[in-house]
Amino acid sequence: MFSKLLIANRGEIAARIIRTCKRLSIQSVAVYSEADQDAPHVKEADESYLIGKPRVNESYLNIDKIIKVAKDSGAEAIHPGYGLLSENAAFAKRVEEEGLTFIGPSAEVIAKMGDKVEARNVMKQAGVPVVPGTMDAVSDVNEAREVAEDIGYPVMVKAAAGGGGIGMQAVSSSEELEKAFEGNQKRAKTFFGDGKMFIEKQILNPRHIEIQVLADLHGHALHLFERECSIQRRHQKVIEEAPSPFLSEETREKMGESALQAVRTLGYANAGTIEFLVDEDENFYFLEMNTRLQVEHPVTEEITGVDLVEQQLRIASGEALTLKQNDLVIDGHAIEVRVYAEDSNTFYPSPGQLTKLSLPNDKGVRHELAVHSTSMVSPFYDPMIAKLIVHAGTREEAIQKLTTALHQYEIEGIKSNLTMLKRIVTNEHFLQGNTTTSFIQDYYLPAITKP
């Protein structure tokens, strides 16, 4: 195991990784920008180094600077957290070239899974179901039209390099397709420098359900069940839970087996997540693979009792997994809500000075925090300031616990989405487990516009 780890990230996830380091007696090294001098991760690490100005290009994405801090401080490995450099193949390669260990899979696997077209091809070869559509990028709008007529409308027009909903559009006719193809290709070129496009069937009323996997360097792989992450706003998740209230035991097993097939085909080693779209008949289709820790990993930790960060560190240091698939059972139900500094109705960001942060404290309530009660929430980063996770025996009890916790949760000084979260967890469709990706449009927004 490593004796010193650098965390190339910020916010709640940096603090979360430091916590596991402390438990395993690993020295932790934090890096921070000028905007984060007062952040929890800076104080909680054993050593902290200022690496630049607030904007991520000048600090958290500055590879040279981060490598230099790692070497100067004597860190042996770098944990990239999520976002930022976590799925940057060039960074992973550089870390290894410098003689350090990257906590994640090989640069080659990161690059493969980062290209949507290639990821799809790999999964199809592995026998994982994929959404019907083109296996390679279409050459032009004419080919796109032919493909669409072949698989039938509605179809999705997607940029290979797209993300966060950018470069992606549903169309239901050839006229719409022509417009969407050119518009999205142009946007993809502007945003990602890559205009490769592909066409696939649109899955109606889908759920977003993902499988957590762990795989080591010795060929062992296991899955830690699913997370239901369908409730999203602006293509970002808001509430996640495990297990899914929708999946049958049979589908759960099939999805887990598919995820393991993917892992084995790739020769994957690290914690990872295979995201699937699941339709109303429980057909599931590969969406993408995240080759890193996920924001919502705590719900899996709560229902399995496994510390995923610890497992990542053990795998990267060359240890074999000691967990066995048969040892893993689902213990109760866990739900995570993401607390965002934003308006509950418009979802507009609300940076500013926090004047109060009062947290509920009860058995089965877990907090992951990017702020403290007098933090300045800066406009430079993602609006997520905290996560609240509850764990209980059943879904009903977990929702009850979550509702109580949300009513005790107090944030003052800036706007937060607490109002939105309280409305969602008491919404009858949420209570029934009727959580599809259009939940916010179908059930939340109509409810708040009513007088």
């Binding site: 500094a341 308006d343 507009y348 960001p349 940076p351 406009p379 980063y381 993602d382």
Partner: protein
């Protein structure tokens, strides 16, 4: 005369309409950036941009006046 106000706190990423320019209802005046999100601030009426109260890079709070349309 109408004051165009910021609908969220953030920094001024881009100025789209310069002082003296003719704008219509719904035309963007500036684009604000905050927490990895870009929000255009549009004119609420037809007229001329009489004055811009902000420059690119400025930080504005919600409700701050961004421009005056006449």
């Amino acid at each position: 005369m109408t004051e165009i106000k910021a609908s969220m706190a953030g920094s001024v990423w881009k100025i789209v309409a310069q002082a003296g320019e003719q704008v219509g209802t719904g035309d963007d005046i500036v684009i604000l950036e905050s927490m990895k999100m870009e929000i255009p601030i549009a004119s609420e009426e037809e007229g001329t941009v009489k004055e811009l109260k902000v420059a690119e890079g400025d930080f504005v709070n919600e409700g701050d006046v961004i421009a005056i349309i006449e």
